[in-house]
């Protein structure tokens, strides 16, 4: 018994990452199969959008490429306005979140005051109960404020962001206390220290938070759908859904063209800055 066990040993001493060739090969094929399944819907959409409608469901390697569908989609709905609305919305949210969350995060990270932990817990509740779920209550508030159908109303529920406060607080706590003390000795005020010491050191966190925030609100749909009802306020996502549902004669070429067009800027930005994006999402996720 023991002899057999010892006899097995040499075969088992193998670098862990190295599986037998057969298994390894299977894994590679499996990984690529999954990858293929994952890009297939997207490739299909790209194919449909950039070929004449006649080729929408026919595969011919030599089918002529065209931008005609994009052009038709662009002219069929006020997408230029929707792009502008989304840009305004995303910028407004990003700037406000930075301005509001930074001081709050600093206070939670580096100041002593009674009730701090309790208030922080209240803030963190929002991580579980997000404004997306509170459509009914927030809609009523917007009616009272007279803000229904404004871009500000789309943005308001997201400005005081628990996620942002939490993320920045974690970063600020990592800033060496000596730097803070040195700045204090130099006669730097509270806000001066925040602005000159903490904010510059937290730059990677701001980039990460910014990317996460922009992609979240570029893609957000249900709340904007509820609170807007005119061309001048609708963001791209809502505009796209209305465009796709108002009986375009279900011309898939044009609908997919519009779909890719509206996701285009974010998608292109992602492909260009892939590493930055992925690292940002990772940074935002590590708690």
């Amino acid at each position: 018994m023991s002899g057999r066990a010892i006899g097995l040993q040499p075969a088992r001493i193998r670098a862990i990452g190295m599986a037998p060739i057969g298994t390894r090969w299977l894994e590679i094929v499996g990984a690529w199969m999954l990858g293929l399944i994952w890009v297939l819907p997207l490739l299909y959409a790209v194919w449909t959008a950039f070929h004449p409608a006649a080729y929408a469901t026919r595969f011919d390697l030599f089918a002529p490429l065209t931008l005609h569908n994009i052009q038709l989609a662009w002219e069929a709905a006020p997408f230029a306005r929707y792009f502008l609305n989304t840009t305004i919305l995303v910028t407004l949210i990003l700037v406000a979140q930075f301005v509001l969350c930074t001081p709050a995060a600093f206070a939670f990270a580096r100041m002593e005051f009674p009730g701090r932990d309790f208030v922080f817990a209240i803030v963190l509740l929002q991580l579980m109960v997000m404004p997306d779920v509170l459509l009914v209550g927030n809609y009523r508030t917007m009616v009272h404020l007279g803000l229904v159908d404004t871009i500000l109303a789309i943005a308001l529920p997201y400005l005081g962001s628990a996620f942002g406060i939490f993320l920045l607080r974690q970063t600020f706590r990592m800033v060496p206390q000596e730097l803070d003390d040195a700045a204090r000795l130099e006669g730097c005020s509270l806000l001066g220290r925040l602005w000159r010491v903490y904010v510059p050191l937290a730059k990677p966190t701001y980039i990460a938070y910014g990317l996460v925030s922009v992609s979240y609100h570029w893609n957000n749909f249900l709340w904007p759908l509820v609170i807007t009802n005119s061309v001048t306020t609708r963001p791209l996502t809502v505009g796209l859904s209305i465009f796709a549902s108002t009986d375009q004669g279900i011309d898939w070429s044009i609908i997919t063209a519009a779909t890719l067009m509206t996701s285009g800027p974010l998608l292109i930005a992602f492909l260009l800055f892939q590493r930055q994006f992925v690292q940002s999402f990772m940074r935002a996720g590590i708690r």
Partner: protein, 292 residues
């Protein structure tokens, strides 16, 4: 003493702007919704009337509510494990030296960058009877046309496929980060002791990934109840409420039927559900997780 009070005032001044907005659009609507759920929906000049738990009693008799609850439970129980396991597999795959690794990582992650509503449009086309790619693929295997979204039996699974496709790549990123942060000497030690790959994965990798798994799970649970954009675009809850999820039902009740009291009641149920899940996740699972 005066110094302490000064710091307290300063701290509150720094916190207050963010806190006011946060409370006004998260805590306040939650409380207001709870209150609203105890009143009738105001109609015209008729003001809301206090009815106690009558709305909740009505809800218990509402078959669509039970259907939505059931759908959402099935949806969560399938999409959460499926996307988490796939995410882990993806991360493990992309973490090894694989031919074309950056391309593969991009393939997995790209759906995450698309708006859910764009994803819904693409998959709507995908599922179209006859023309859609899906029917053409199964057609190769000799199966006839099928209305994937029009059939009550396949509509919800179709929605789940969309959700898993969109989410898995997102969760992969967090697993990938955790895998890359794992000290390499662990692997060396294990290989010297002759531990098999599966054993190493089960005994070392998986426990070390537990905090990540908890984080991913929390997000997956929230998303399973928060994200219904694809329902709005693809099925509007149909056929015959087969794809109605809770938040979609809230949206429909509140903003298509304008029954705000019932919508408020439904929201309270959803909040209670999310709260219970949060307590469970942090209380029960959290204790079994070893943090660094």
């Amino acid at each position: 003493m005066a110094g302490v009070r000064r710091e307290t005032l300063q701290a509150w001044a720094l916190i207050l702007p963010a806190l006011v907005l946060l409370v006004a659009f998260t805590h306040w609507p939650a409380v207001a919704t709870l209150v609203d759920s105890l009143y009738t929906t105001p109609k015209g000049s008729r003001p809301p009337r206090f009815v106690g738990v009558e709305n909740y009693v009505a809800l218990m008799d509402d078959p669509v509510f039970w259907r939505a609850l059931h759908n959402n439970a099935v949806y969560a129980l399938v999409t959460i494990p499926a996307s988490v396991v796939l995410a882990l597999l993806m991360a493990l795959a992309v973490n090894t030296a694989l031919p074309g690794r950056p391309l593969l990582r991009m393939a997995y992650f790209t759906p995450t960058m698309l708006p859910m509503i764009a994803v819904a449009n693409i998959w709507l086309f995908f599922f179209t009877p006859d023309y859609g790619l899906f029917d053409r693929i199964v057609g190769v295997f000799g199966m006839g046309r099928h209305n994937w979204l029009g059939d009550a039996a396949t509509a919800l699974p179709a929605m789940m496929a969309v959700a898993v496709w969109k989410e898995a790549g997102f969760f992969m990123i967090f697993y990938l980060a955790a895998l890359q942060a794992m000290p390499p000497d662990l692997k060396e030690a294990a290989s010297l002791e002759g531990s098999s790959r599966w054993n190493f994965f089960r005994r070392v990798t998986l426990p070390l990934l537990m905090p990540t798994t908890l984080f991913v799970l929390v997000n997956a649970v929230i998303n399973a109840f928060r994200l219904v954009d694809h329902v709005v675009v693809m099925t509007r809850g149909g056929p015959d409420n087969a794809t109605t999820l809770l938040l979609y039902y809230i949206y429909e009740t509140g903003f298509r039927f304008w029954d705000t009291a019932m919508a408020a009641t439904l929201t309270v149920v959803l909040l209670a559900l999310l709260g219970t899940l949060a307590i469970f996740q942090f209380g029960v699972l959290g204790r079994r997780v070893h943090y660094r």
